[in-house]
């Protein structure tokens, strides 16, 4: 059955993952993310949030369950990982820009070499994306010459240059200086407002409340509860959620 936009863009069903040491980090995660939806995943450290994101673009293989991205099964040995990753963009906590390339080259590399698109056209798009993340003038800077927040915004532009259908954000502000966090969050919020489907792992509760359509709380490898941000933050049902929110808010 072909995928149609009225079905969930990302569909996780009973996803299990155990790491080499026998630690079960995901114990049956089920969630649907619709096209254009922005979800935030919150929870204590080690609750499997980052692993969950890495499973969606097949950086981490899962043991059991099913992950469908636009109807394509990720948990399939015959999966074309590269085709999947063209649809799924990811931004990391440590930005991971390529240090030997300028900001512009970082953004252009994958579209030119992976998608084999015309270089001139990619450059136009890359310049527009760099402008979109408000870094016009930094095109020729190397990552080492940019602040953490600027590097992270270039990393977002780099991911967007592949024209993904869904973006994964893995604690993208956790490694940043406080004064540079805002710029990154503004960039993500604008992206969400443009209708990009986003799965965001974050510790920024204010941001989650503002930008998310749904908030998920994970603890110990399970989804404890989820709901629209207003309800979720105002009246959490599960005692674990309440305890977590009490600790950080």
């Amino acid at each position: 059955m072909p995928w149609t936009p009225d079905q969930p863009l990302v569909r996780l069903a009973d996803v299990h993952k155990t790491f080499g040491g026998g630690v079960e980090v995901l114990k049956g995660i089920t969630m649907d993310v619709m096209k254009g939806e922005v979800i935030c995943i919150i929870g204590p450290s080690g609750s499997g949030k980052s692993t969950l994101l890495r499973c969606v673009n097949a950086l981490v293989p899962i043991d059991r369950g099913s992950i469908l991205v636009e109807g394509q099964e990720v948990n399939d040995p015959k999966l074309d990982k590269l085709a999947l990753r063209r649809k799924v963009g990811m931004v990391f906590q440590q930005y991971n820009l390529f240090p030997h390339k300028t900001a512009l080259e970082n953004v252009m590399m994958a579209p030119v070499h992976v998608l084999k698109r015309d270089k001139k056209e990619v450059e136009r798009q890359a310049l527009a994306l760099i402008a979109k993340v408000r870094l016009t003038g930094k095109e020729e800077s190397y990552p080492g010459e940019l602040s953490g927040g600027q590097q992270q915004r270039i990393a977002i532009a780099r991911s967007l240059a592949m024209n993904p259908d869904v973006m994964l954000f893995d604690e993208v502000t956790a490694a940043l200086d406080p004064e540079t966090v805002k710029g990154v969050l503004v960039t993500i919020r604008e992206l969400a407002e443009d209708g990009m489907t986003c799965m965001i792992v974050t510790h920024e509760m204010g941001f989650a409340r503002e930008v998310a359509n749904r908030v998920y709380f994970t603890d110990g490898g399970v989804l404890v509860e989820h709901g629209p941000p207003k309800e979720f933050f105002a009246s959490p049902r599960d005692p674990r959620t309440r305890q977590f929110l009490d600790q950080i808010l």
Binding site: Q94, N96, F98, H100, A110, V114, A155, S159
Partner: protein, 277 residues
Amino acid sequence: MIANRSDMAVIKPFRIAAAEPWRFTVWHGLVLVAALLVALGIGEAQAAAAEKPGIIATILKWTPLLAQGFALNIAMSFLAMAIGTVIGVPLGLAQISLLPPVRAGSWFVTQFFRNSPWLVLLFYCMLLLPFEVNIGGTIIPLPGWLKSTIGLSLPVMANVSELVRGAVRSIPFAQWESAESLAMSRGQTLRMVILPQCIKRMTPPWMNLYAILTVATPLTSVVGVSEAMTLTGDILSSEARTELLVPMYLYLLLWFFLYCYPIARATLALEKRFQVR
């Protein structure tokens, strides 16, 4: 005064005491020159006493021949480095292959040649390689110097292989992860992301390896190649003068030092420059 800025207790920055590694400096060269001068002085005195031609004059007389031999040393070092690098890089990449047999095979080859004495490898190449090869009717002679160059290139190859493997492994895993998440294949990731970053890290140790190879080329004198070391021996036996022995070998040593010293300095300079960024 920084100390007056605040009354708060502050941990002062501290450094873990690490000994500076020994490096070649100009002083080592000067010591060598001084030793040569002393040896020359003693030799001249002995020569004068025995009423023979002066030591300096004798050394200068043989210098053109010595230069020819030294040119062969340099040629062998260039060629061995080129062969060793051209084969060593793919061998190093094979060591990080995803295919276990390729990985195991290249690991074994690398370890075998890296841990064999250079002289043993030289003898093997001299004795096992034919004196000429016949490729499609054309006979290509394999003179001794070429065979021993091949012998020297084997340990170079193994060391380059380890350099490549180590450099690739020293690149943070996150670089692989972010390249993969951009749908880049393993080959593309290696070619465009990992290896360009490796080259910078590999250049100083690679130059160091070249310096080691250059000073190892006199080993070929044992298997009869007419390079500078062999020629020095020939010169000494034809002169048959004991007072020439020490100055002559010191003179040869100086040649190698003058050649390798700039390489050592350049390696150091590159290391320092790469540390900054």
